[in-house]
């Protein structure tokens, strides 16, 4: 299939419409990242294309690849088999591998083609994203930021050991490079009047986030030694010294509280305890963050509510608390209940309150933009407008605290709303996607289990002493293996009914028993299909397409086109290897870098299971100049799709018989069974001579 045809197929494919649900990972992602697509590209080492897919949805890939709350993974169907795919770690892998997160990849300027200008207040993820979208569409965009550096809470909230500043700088530099003007150190409401922005621009976007910490209405909060979380984080992030004692109690059970606790642990040999209302399994902080905090020596005191802060000589000496029996009422509303009888006291010289954040909207006074009595912006979620028609808002100031990727989604939505406003039309937003249902239980139980690759981390003992990045990033082998675990949800078999000859082959061949005949046409339930593509390569009518198979055919084609060229310069003896993407890393030489040590006369084509190769694919390879072709097949009990080994071997025998008939000789087609002790290096050596 030519590239053009391939694209046409994708565009016309009835699966792409609303008829077919989306992979749950994509449906769960606030910006609808096509994770399945980028995982399958990573699995085939097509990293540049993978980054393109990621960046279609997300202008801060290196940042999000490190700190995302990754709701996609919570939704991932692989989780039903053993563990969800490490979608987030793999995003990071691509940005690291390509040097994007190091700032080595530079994005180009997009020329300004439109007259209208937009002012954005705030350079957090929501403001950056909106500015990026608008600038890419040709508008003149200026961001005003009160801090010395851009990034909002990504810079002043999240600490360096989770998100090194250089990584944030690299992403932001590329966002700005499309042609956004950034004015830092400009506090709107102080240095510049908000009214001036309204006067000088065609639209204004408020993306100021929640930069104030909330305090607690309890006795003792005014004592020396009581701090609010955000200022402490800001100070640590800016490298300023913060006066903290040695017995620190952090109040709160969310991610900010955990972050504060983990950072304070790194400031020296301090005892750090967290106290929160919620039980351990109710804590709003992410499990993986809590686990890291525990490893780093933070103590957790759950199900306790602070009653009063006690002090001596005007300074904190401890925290009194009582048991919290229940945090939420029946409607899941926050309504803590306490057991006054059960009390406790923790000695402390420092208390940090991390119980929530609020917006600072003083700059809107007299601007005509209304703020409610409770201090919230008046805001229309449908139009993204405030009470002033040309003033829009987005990010946490409108949504409340959440994940950065939600702020990015808000940024996209705000940009769409502003463009529509400037064009005087109704805005068009991304529609929510319907997610594919879970894997049927009997199929999940029968699947090949491959545990999730662990993220390599800094050794425990090195962690609590400095702010070095804790997560070290996947190796290439980790990444290839992890990406290959993806089930390719909804990329599965699809029958062109006009071609199906009702031969029943698919019904007989599927390792998972998915296809069934509906009347005289085959049908594959996308919920059950594992996208192995075996039915497609076996169907005598070529009535079946599998998205990932189409993709692999495309790769094949590209491979073959260039082979013709390369063959000419290599002289005699070009060989082509079809290498199973699953089996590649199973060999004895796991860390062997095949691409780097490839003999000059070998071309390597990574395929999802070689049982997807049709006889014509292999014959085409010979036709295009290959002198020998080899195929690596996972040994019998290692096949990711159960029966790929036998299917491939018998198909290769068939092709050998044709090669014999032609006079080329079936021995020119070699297959290798890949097991734990096979060495890819040796195969390559053997094949090159």
């Amino acid at each position: 299939m030519s590239e053009e045809n391939h694209i046409e197929h994708q565009a016309n494919c009835p699966k792409k419409g609303h008829l077919w649900p989306a992979p749950p990972c994509q449906a769960a992602c606030p910006v609808q990242t096509d994770a399945r697509q980028y995982l399958s590209l990573i699995a085939r080492e097509r990293y540049h294309e993978a980054l393109d897919v990621i960046m279609e949805a997300n202008p801060l890939p290196s940042v999000i690849g490190r700190i995302c709350a990754h709701p996609c993974e919570q939704a991932c169907r692989r989780g039903q088999v053993e563990d969800p795919i490490a979608i987030c770690h793999l995003k990071r892998f691509v940005t690291d591998k390509l040097g994007y997160s190091d700032g080595k990849v530079k994005v180009g300027l997009v020329p300004q083609t439109k007259e209208k200008s937009i002012a954005v207040v705030g350079s957090g993820p929501s403001g950056l994203t909106a500015a990026h979208d608008l600038a890419r569409h040709g508008y003149k965009v200026t961001i005003y930021e009160k801090n010395a550096k851009p990034g909002g809470m990504l810079r002043y909230g999240i600490l360096d050991f989770r998100l090194p500043p250089a990584v944030l700088d690299a992403d932001i530099e590329n966002v700005l490079a499309v042609g956004i003007e950034l004015k830092t150190g400009v506090n709107i409401g102080k240095e510049v009047d908000f009214q001036d922005l309204i006067n000088d621009n065609d639209a204004v976007l408020i993306a100021v986030g929640l930069s104030a910490s909330r305090s607690l209405p309890i006795d003792g909060v005014d004592l020396d030694g009581v701090h609010l979380a955000i200022p402490v984080l800001e100070a640590i992030n800016e490298g300023q010294s913060v006066e903290l004692g040695n017995d620190v109690v952090v109040v709160g059970g969310g991610n900010v509280a955990v972050d504060v606790a983990r950072s304070v642990r790194r400031l020296g040999n301090k005892s750090v305890k967290m106290v929160c209302l919620e039980a351990r399994d109710e804590m709003p902080a992410h499990d993986w963050e809590i686990e890291d905090a525990l490893v780093e020596g933070v103590e957790m005191h759950c199900s306790w509510g602070p009653d009063k802060i006690v002090g001596k000589h005007g300074r904190v000496s401890g925290l009194d608390f009582k048991e919290c029996t229940c945090v939420f009422d029946e409607d899941r509303k926050f309504s803590p209940q306490f057991n006054e009888e059960k009390r406790n006291v923790l000695p402390a010289d420092t208390i940090i309150l991390a119980i929530g954040q609020a917006g600072e909207l003083g700059f809107l006074e007299y601007s005509g933009v209304k703020v409610t009595d409770s201090g919230r912006l008046e805001f229309n979620h449908e139009t993204m407008q405030t009470s002033h028609p040309m003033v829009f808002a987005t990010g946490e100031i409108t949504s409340g605290p959440g994940a950065a990727i939600r702020a990015i989604a808000g940024g996209h939505r705000a940009a769409a709303a502003i463009e529509a406003f400037l064009d005087e039309r109704t805005p068009v937003y991304q529609e929510p996607l319907e997610a594919l249902d879970s894997v049927p239980e009997h199929i999940a139980a029968s699947m090949y289990k491959t545990p999730r690759r662990r993220m390599p981390k800094l050794p425990d003992e090195e962690r609590s002493t400095d702010f070095k990045e804790v997560e070290l990033g996947y190796s290439e082998e980790d990444a290839l293996r992890e990406a290959a675990r993806c089930l390719g949800c909804t990329a599965g078999a699809f029958v062109d009914e006009s071609k199906c000859a009702a031969c029943l082959t698919c019904v007989r061949i599927c390792p998972y028993g998915v296809p069934e005949m509906v009347g005289d046409k085959a049908y594959m339930n996308p919920q059950a299909c594992q996208s192995c593509g075996f039915c497609a390569s076996e169907c005598p009518a070529k009535a079946i397409t599998v998205d990932l198979t189409e993709e692999h055919l495309l790769a094949l084609q590209i491979g073959l086109d260039t082979l013709e060229v390369e063959v000419a310069h290599l002289g005699a003896g070009p060989r082509v290897g079809f290498v199973c993407q699953f089996g590649h890393a199973w060999g004895a030489d796991r860390t062997f870098d095949a691409e780097a040590s490839m003999p000059e006369n070998i071309r390597f084509i990574r395929v999802l299971c070689p049982a997807r190769l049709e006889p014509a694919d292999i014959l085409n390879t010979f036709e295009n100049g290959a002198e020998r072709v080899f195929v690596t097949i996972c040994a019998e009990n290692y096949c990711h799709y159960k029966t790929g080994n036998g299917l491939t071997e018998r198909r290769l025998d068939y092709v050998r018989s044709i090669l014999d008939g032609i006079g080329i000789g079936g021995d020119k087609l070699v297959s290798y069974q890949i097991g734990q002790d096979t060495s890819l290096a040796e195969i390559l050596k053997e094949m090159s001579t």
């Binding site: 000859a501 044709i658 006079g663």
Partner: protein, 225 residues
């Protein structure tokens, strides 16, 4: 359905290698289902031929077209231009399809890629067995649903010959004796007396002996005006 298999590729190469522009036409019906001439096999054959030509250092253009059913004029017609432009056509349909092409394009070289073998069906994936001889006067009612015309090497009509050994045919120990099968089936159905009914010599006129057969349904014909 009609079952056939691809001729050995050497034979196909020998009949096609003189043509610079070869059009290979597959069929989407019976031969698709028996993995002889559907899109998958036709494309593999075409790649094989291209490769063979390249190997012999012969420059040839080999193209593939598919057909819903090669035994229908209307399905053949859209291929007329392509056929005209080719030096020869290789058909991966059964003998019926080949002849339809040959009749529609009488001046063109139309070559068969299959050996069309029999009417039958798969016993398992990849194995097909002959079942019906197309004798034109079906006797399955008296033979327990097992056809001695297609399945007995001697087309015996009144029970087995002397070569029936342990249920196998004397022609090959891999072939079941059709009459053994018939006997067993009738016995299990309590109809053994059917074996004793004498079947007189068969009139083979409705079979091939009466010349090319033809079925006419006047009621279905489209009236000429």
């Amino acid at each position: 359905m009609i079952v056939g298999s691809q001729k050995p590729i050497e034979e196909i190469i020998a009949t096609t290698c003189d043509y610079k522009r070869l059009l290979v036409i597959g069929c989407g019906a019976c031969v698709t289902v028996c993995f002889a001439g559907g899109e998958r096999e036709t494309e593999a054959l075409a790649s094989g031929l291209r490769l063979a030509m390249k190997h012999k250092k012969i420059k040839a253009e080999i193209e593939v077209e598919m057909n819903v059913r090669q035994c229908e004029w209307e399905f053949i017609e859209p291929l007329a231009d392509k056929v005209e432009a080719a030096d020869a056509v290789l058909s991966t349909a059964c003998g019926v399809g080949v002849q339809f092409l040959a009749e529609r394009f009488p001046e063109k070289r139309i070559l068969p890629a299959l050996n069309t073998s029999f009417m039958g069906g798969p016993t398992e994936q990849g194995v097909w067995l002959e079942n019906c001889g197309g004798c034109g006067n079906c006797i399955l009612a008296s033979t327990g649903g097992i056809c001695p015309i297609a399945r007995c090497a001697k087309t015996m009509l009144n029970g087995p010959c002397g070569g029936s050994q342990n249920g196998k045919c004397e022609v090959s120990k891999d072939i079941d004796c059709a009459w053994q099968l018939i006997y067993d089936r009738l016995k299990s159905q309590g109809l053994l007396q059917l074996m004793t009914d004498y079947t007189p010599p068969k009139d083979w006129t409705p079979a091939r002996d009466g010349g090319q057969r033809k079925i006419v349904r006047e009621d279905l014909k489209i009236p000429n005006d």
